[in-house]
């Protein structure tokens, strides 16, 4: 692939920029709590009242989550610049199943991915001889296990929830891909995809400098944080405001641990739906606050992010209907199990 060389404006002190950015970020982070108390103190509201508490929570949590997200997205933007789809393809080409599925699912976290690129990526992988099951492991993990979902889960529900989501999300991607590989479904690719000439995966030397990677981090902030901040504010507002206005156990009967059937129902509702990781957070926040079981809610979240009707329609161009149905059923089953496991261990 020929590329026109473009010399980006060089920052002569990329390292000092990074150091300054880290210091400023840390300073802001430490200032959040006193700042939120100070603002609430200025308002004519009793700090000890319900409203005062909710306001302080909102004023502290919103900038905290946004700051964390900005930091993580920036770092991931820099890491992404090491893992272009082309590079990932080279790593995965010719890998055997098992190890390949684990690598593909893990690379899915760090490789930049947009669902509108799913098809070119899919074809690019298959053309270069990446086995079908391994391609699917990547395709399942990439949208579902991403830094936005993990950061939001971490900052709103703690590291245990984020860690479990990471571990179980990867497991679903690895196992589903492995099963699809075992089923030998290559015949269910559309004919034009199978007949495409095979290519040898190769990639030019990486010539990016540190300042290019910083630029890539900044571009990610622009692309992601600018897009998701309204969802986050709504999510936190829901979390702060909902307490006390809706009965605490409002959802407990419907989506509590005792309601075993709520997990499959949550997955069935979630599969056709689509929203990004940030868009689902307000719903997750509201459901959890009202007594829904964590496993049920996370299964819902995973099925919304990982599977969607629009994605299936896009994939229909390269996969025969039968393969789409098999793929969806396997992933949905995996998510279902995740829901039950979560509910059982927590």
């Amino acid at each position: 692939m020929a590329t026109v060389a473009v010399t980006a404006p060089r920052n002569s002190w990329p390292k000092s920029f990074l150091v300054c950015a880290v210091l400023i970020w840390y300073g802001l982070y430490r200032a959040l709590e006193p700042f939120s108390e100070w603002v609430v103190g200025l308002l004519p509201i009793d700090r000890a009242s319900k409203l005062g508490g909710a306001l302080q929570f909102f004023l502290y949590d919103t900038p905290k989550v946004l700051l964390l997200l900005t930091g993580v997205v920036f770092v991931m933007g820099m890491i992404n610049s090491y893992f272009t789809p082309e590079r990932t393809r080279v790593i995965l080409a010719g890998k055997s199943e098992g190890v390949g599925n684990i690598m593909a699912a893990s690379l899915g976290i760090v490789t930049p991915f947009c669902s509108c690129s799913a098809v070119p990526l899919f074809i690019g992988f298959v053309q270069a001889g990446v086995p079908l099951g391994i391609t699917f492991s990547f395709l399942i993990s990439a949208p579902m296990v991403n830094e936005v979902a993990l950061t939001l889960l971490f900052s709103m529900f703690g590291w245990k929830v984020a860690g479990l989501y990471l571990f179980l999300g990867l497991s679903v991607a690895i196992i589903s891909g492995w099963v699809i590989g075992k089923l030998k479904l290559e015949n269910y690719l559309e004919d034009w995809v199978r007949n495409m000439p095979k290519t040898v995966a190769s990639v030019g030397a990486d010539q990016l400098t540190l300042s290019d990677r910083i630029e890539s981090g900044k571009a990610s902030i622009k692309e992601i944080v600018v897009k998701v901040w309204p969802y986050i504010i709504v999510g936190i507002a829901v979390g702060a405001g909902i307490h006390g206005y809706v009965p605490e156990d409002f959802m407990a009967n419907l989506m509590g641990k005792e309601a075993w059937w709520s997990v499959p129902v949550a997955v069935l509702i979630g599969v056709p739906m689509y929203t990004n990781a940030a868009g689902i957070i307000p719903i997750v926040e509201a459901l959890l606050a009202k007594g829904a079981a964590l496993g049920t809610v996370l299964a819902f979240m995973m099925s919304v992010i990982a599977l969607s009707l629009p994605e299936m329609i896009i994939l229909r161009k390269v996969l025969k209907l039968r393969l789409i149905i098999i793929f969806t059923s396997i992933v949905a089953t995996g998510i279902l199990l995740v829901g039950y496991i979560f509910n059982a261990v927590l």
Binding site: M1, P112, C116, V119, P120
Partner: protein, 76 residues
């Protein structure tokens, strides 16, 4: 210049078309713009992420909306 924007019609693709047209106009470059939305046609250019930009048959960009500086350099 003959410019093709490759993409299946997602919002990033539309933004890319708009950006390229806008900067070409600013720079006074005369271009023909073609949107390639059919996936089989897109794959002929051997890219793995969209939107992609092709100028006179050469892929100059793939994946995400190109930065303003990058687009300006094409019309430099």
């Amino acid at each position: 210049m003959e410019i093709k924007v490759l993409g299946t019609g997602c919002s990033n693709c539309k933004a890319t078309v708009k950006l390229v047209e806008e900067i070409a106009k600013e720079k006074g470059a005369s271009i023909t713009m073609e949107k390639v939305e059919d996936i089989q046609d897109i794959m002929k250019f051997n890219i793995m992420s969209t939107p992609g930009v092709v100028i006179d048959g050469i892929v100059v960009h793939a994946g995400g909306i190109p930065s303003r500086e990058k687009v300006e350099a094409w019309f430099g």
